[in-house]
Amino acid sequence: MRLRLVLADDYRGARPRRASSRTSDSPWLSVDVTRLAFALALALIANTIAWYGSSGTTEWSTQMGWLVLSIGAAALAAGSCARWVIAGLRSTRWERAEIVRVVNAAWPDKGGLNRAVAVDDQFEVLVAGPTMTRFHRPTCQLAAGKDVVGLTTTQIVAGHLAPCEMCAP
């Protein structure tokens, strides 16, 4: 048995789910489905009752009560749907956090590589020349006027390139 610590901050509110109770191929648990179905059915029944009640009378004060019930039913439906969407978002965030954790564990930070990836994520292409041992930002003075090409993260790792100290990519 191996004990491993995982920082809670990595998850940022992501939702740990029990795999056994998950519906097949879906980010929602079966309890989420049940909750939503129950709330929607309740809202539908309340709305039907409100309609039945309001159509049986012409008295304004009585009708207002039924209208309030109807609005409450709509609010219940909207709230349940919002809760459903939030549950799905949390599951998705959990999966994303797990991917980040696995990637960080498999490819740990090596002298600024993670920072380079972050820059790359912002669509700034990093460059290096064929004989260079460092990679640079395209605007770096050390790369200006030289025969450089754009790099992918894989090329940076494969070429054992270090980040330039001047432009600090």
Partner: protein, 117 residues
Amino acid sequence: MDIVNFLRAQWDRALAVAIALAAAVSLLLGYRGVSGTPHVAVQLPYIVSAGMFGIFLLTIAATLWVSADLRDEWRELRKLRVRLDTIENPEARPVRTHRAETTGPGSNGRAAAEVRS
């Protein structure tokens, strides 16, 4: 792709569109009922039935559509994670089957222990 396969693959989005159309019909019927009489006491049942029911249906349609997007994203992420787990532990079975996911951390910022066999 024929229509049956398309509907089978995109059942949630197709259902969302169908429910949104039903909502539009409901709201139109409500409008027709309300506009047909000057008496508020007669108009109110139309608002309660057709109006609120239309809003109810619209909410469900929107939820279905967003759910479809979420499910697609979640499925892609899950596939990716299973592949990554396989790379990380090539000899082990997929981590998902081993991990007790309920041992994940709460939202209070404390560290949580995850036990793995």
